[in-house]
Amino acid sequence: MIIRFVFIYLLGFINLAQAQQKFTISGYVKDASTGEDLIGASIWESKSKIGTNTNAYGYFVLEIPASKDSLLLKASYSGYTDWSQSVYLDKNLQINVLMSVDKSSEQIQEIEIIAEDKFRDAIEKPQMSVEKLEYREIKTVPVIFGETDLIKVLQLKPGVKSGSEASAGLYVRGGGPDQNLVLLDEATVYNASHLFGFFSIFNSDAIKNVELYKGDFPAQYGGRLSSVLDIKMKEGNKNKFSGTGGIGLISSRLTLEGPIQKGKSSFIISGRRTYFDLITKQINKANADKKDYNPIPDYYFYDLNLKANYEFSQKDRLFVSGYFGRDVFNFESNTGRFNFDFDWGNTTATVRWNHVFSPKLFLNTTAIYSDYQYKIRNSFASFIFNIGSAIKDYNFKTDFDYLHSEKHHFRFGTQFTQHYFEVARISLKSDDNRVDFNSGNGYESSEMGVYLNDDIKISELWRLNAGLRASGFLSYGKLYTGLEPRTAVRYKVSDKTSIKASFSQMYQYVHLLSNSGATLPTDIWYPSNDVVKPQLSTQIAGGVSHLFRGGDFLFSAETYYKTMQNQLDFKDGAQIFANDNLDGEFVFGKGWGYGLELYVEKKSGKLTGWLGYTLSWTKRQFADSTNGNAPINFGEAFYPRYDRRHDVALVIMYNPNPKWTFAFNWVFGNNSWLTLQEGRFGVQGINGTNFSLGNDFGYRNNYQMPAYHRADFSIIRKFKPKWGESDLTFSVYNLYSRRNAFTIYYETTDDQDPTFASEYKARQLALFPIIPTLTYNFKF
């Protein structure tokens, strides 16, 4: 018996030894014309069927059994022609795969390739609850004012909501707008929108890759409860100088890119700016002589993206990138004795080093600076009043990508972030120094995380993604730690059908304090401390992915349940500014959400698009009054403003030929919740006069506005002038001019100032009627 066992063991060892006769094929997958790394490209060996995807930096490694015969290596990527090459594998190989955009076979083939890629991942990978956007979708889907916006395209995906009309806010699976980790080239973006939140800060001309995780968060991400939006900027054309740009109704933009040292290094610089202020300045100038004329405030926003990279060798590459954007609002009175300047925006900088230790071990090390701040500067007569808040991060992270074997692919790393908070800094001064006041707090804290993730191919049928993140937060001696398991499993029912399930936990150690119903630039980021505990979310999800009609269509269904602990809000009547003890102004609570997301997508042929439906519930409850503050909403649970029961999005794109593209989308959903006054009372005060109106608001979000629906349409006509390419995009927002309620308010029936004795009627306010827009885009 023992001899038999030893024999079998030795036989196994010999087999193992034979199995170890493997070689690696590694390298980068790049765009042949620009040298851009391609993220998520598929590459596989056709005989052994062993394949993988390029990582977030375009790198891949395959481990393939040695063979005396030639092998056929294949690669495919969205919008590119298939690539293949015969190789002899008698040693480890390094290959850079250069893929070309397929121009000869026009766009139809291009779209077919996209379908092959995306749908394969949906069936093969355990990863669920993720949305990936393609450049073509961002550019084609019609949006308001013709301003292409990746966030507004994401809002058309199941489980993602906008919050309000035309908003670039993100509300993911019942989470709040502050619970999204928004990364631009790995740097945290703390406020991702311009102008009331109507436009996101992301200039689509400078964007290469967009991924939104709604759940099943990969272990390398941490710090937010509800979603991760990971955006990668383009690197710049390594082979030739080129440019893209556009002239629109709201803004114009220009992107220039080119080689610094051909084939080895490149740069990209991209800018965008609005025009409002140029118009208002002229109006003010024309009316400057009028005595009673009140100047119109100036407003504009701009973005600037920069990136450069250098390839030292096949093993070492360095990237430097940055973003700077501001919204600027200025007002100056006619006499010059009252000035109001208000600006806000983000700054990020990323320095990234990629190193290949061995074909199987890839390193990405990143140093990141991230900053968000707002400043208000007022001057009145001889007084100056300034107010501002800021958050500033210095972040260092290291990520390893290690292919242990065909069955185990490890990703592990560590991250350290030093946060600096400036909370409601106020200064008030007068020329005579009789007023000299400063308030506000500065805080410093450290956030860290380590993670390990193993993508385990258990068998052909079963695949497990097992991850664990350990995180910590240290603030003035108070240390919080947490374990965040991230696990997903896939069972492949057939080549066309997979069933998936996931479990994930996320801690959030920094919090956005808002005393308004919307996200405003003046909201304050605040650290966890003795009083404010880290938020924690737990999400379980299950789903099915299924290909049908010959693989042309993908159907997916996901259901989820999410809980959120240690939610915080301001108490009623909280004093936020000139208050050095904000901890006393909070009320703590919890939240939960659950829902079902159905999705059908077609990506091949002339007609493409998707249909998504979400059925969901989300609630908040702030009943904890242990700190002496009264509970919110009398301690009862309530629907947050952005809760929507039903949400439908239909997107159709039609490419009859390379010159023309037509796009249509239609959205339908229950509208937002609103808090309306239920009662009124007379307020006399000590000043007397007529009774003024007292507003008795009832329960929070006591009224749901009428259902929202809207259709948009766009036509893109492409041209090929001698100097490059161009297109004219005609888009129509709100095609049938539906008056969707943005808010509801009461108004006196006689249009006089409101008093208690006035008679009132309810009125609904819509924001945008039908809006046609013409945009000109060019590329050279």
Binding site: I376, S439, F681, N687, N695, D696
Partner: protein, 277 residues
């Protein structure tokens, strides 16, 4: 100006030309009427109290519904001040009260004053207050907007500045300017604040450019309780939030329990002056 209000104003400017408003019917939950109290105790003066009732927002109303069938008592240091239903009108400031006492508050009151109201619908409202120190105006001044201009403008307006010292206790204040209009004074400015911006123990507050040459104004400096500040701010916040989609509406923070309203003391210094260039 609150930032949310600033965004709201910009938004209204943006959409004003679009004509995107229309009247709608609402289906709101049934509203339960609440007692509404306003009572401001003053040293040496009879007690006057206004007791009204709130109503559903869209219900028709010609006037404030007075509640005249309630039992109203104020107690202090073992003494009871019963308030009887009786309409009393202040014609100068246009104020009205519907419960008054025969007895006046002592000129040097002490201790806590307690309010108790019970009406025939069995609703009960209670509250407490106490008197604070009198706080004098230290100085006041004004300055016209064309002060530094080479060519003076007859229509230029002035702002008014008020200075006072902080109080060692109950560090909450209210600054009021009433402007004379014929034989009456109408309120022109009213805001409450905490004394956090003091420099060397002195607080400076001011008005916008609101006053023309030869305007007659009444300036008042009130020393108020925290509960009064909370009530005033919540009434203002509720008013600002009405119809403003960027604001987070909050309930009225009343100083009384069982209803809406304020039961507090007032103590103020005042000055009358004519704005001159």
């Amino acid at each position: 100006m609150k930032i949310s209000n600033l965004f709201y104003i910009l938004l209204l400017v943006l959409i004003s030309s679009c004509g995107l408003e229309r009247e709608i019917d609402l289906n709101l939950p049934e509203y339960e009427e609440k007692l509404v109290v306003e009572c401001y105790l003053e040293r040496g003066k009879p007690i006057q109290l206004l007791l009204t009732e709130s109503q559903a927002f869209l219900a028709p109303a010609d006037s404030v519904p007075f509640v005249m069938d309630a039992k109203v008592i104020i107690k202090n240091n073992g003494k009871e001040y019963p308030l009887l239903p009786s309409i009393k009108v202040d014609s100068i400031f246009g104020k009205v009260y519907n419960y008054v006492s025969f007895d006046s508050i002592p000129t040097n009151p002490s201790g806590v004053f307690e309010l108790e109201i019970t009406d025939t619908k069995n609703r009960k409202v209670t509250g407490q207050t106490k008197f604070l120190d009198f706080l004098p105006i230290k100085e006041y001044s004004w300055e016209f907007e064309d002060k530094d201009a080479e060519v003076k403008d007859d229509s230029a307006k002035a702002y008014v500045l008020l200075r006072h010292n902080i109080s060692p206790s109950d560090d909450y204040y209210r600054f009021i300017i009433n402007k004379k209009n014929g034989n009456t004074f109408a309120n022109d400015l009213d805001f409450e604040y905490k004394g956090i911006t003091a420099t060397n123990g002195e607080i400076t507050v001011g008005s916008p450019y609101n006053y023309k040459n030869k305007d007659t104004i009444q300036i008042q400096l009130h020393h108020i309780e925290r509960q009064f500040l909370d009530y005033l701010r919540s009434v203002e916040a509720a008013s600002d939030a009405a119809g403003n989609p960027f604001a987070q509406p909050s309930p009225i923070i009343s100083s009384v329990k069982g209803g809406i309203g304020i039961f507090t003391t007032i103590q103020y210094d005042e000055a009358f002056t004519v704005i001159t260039k």
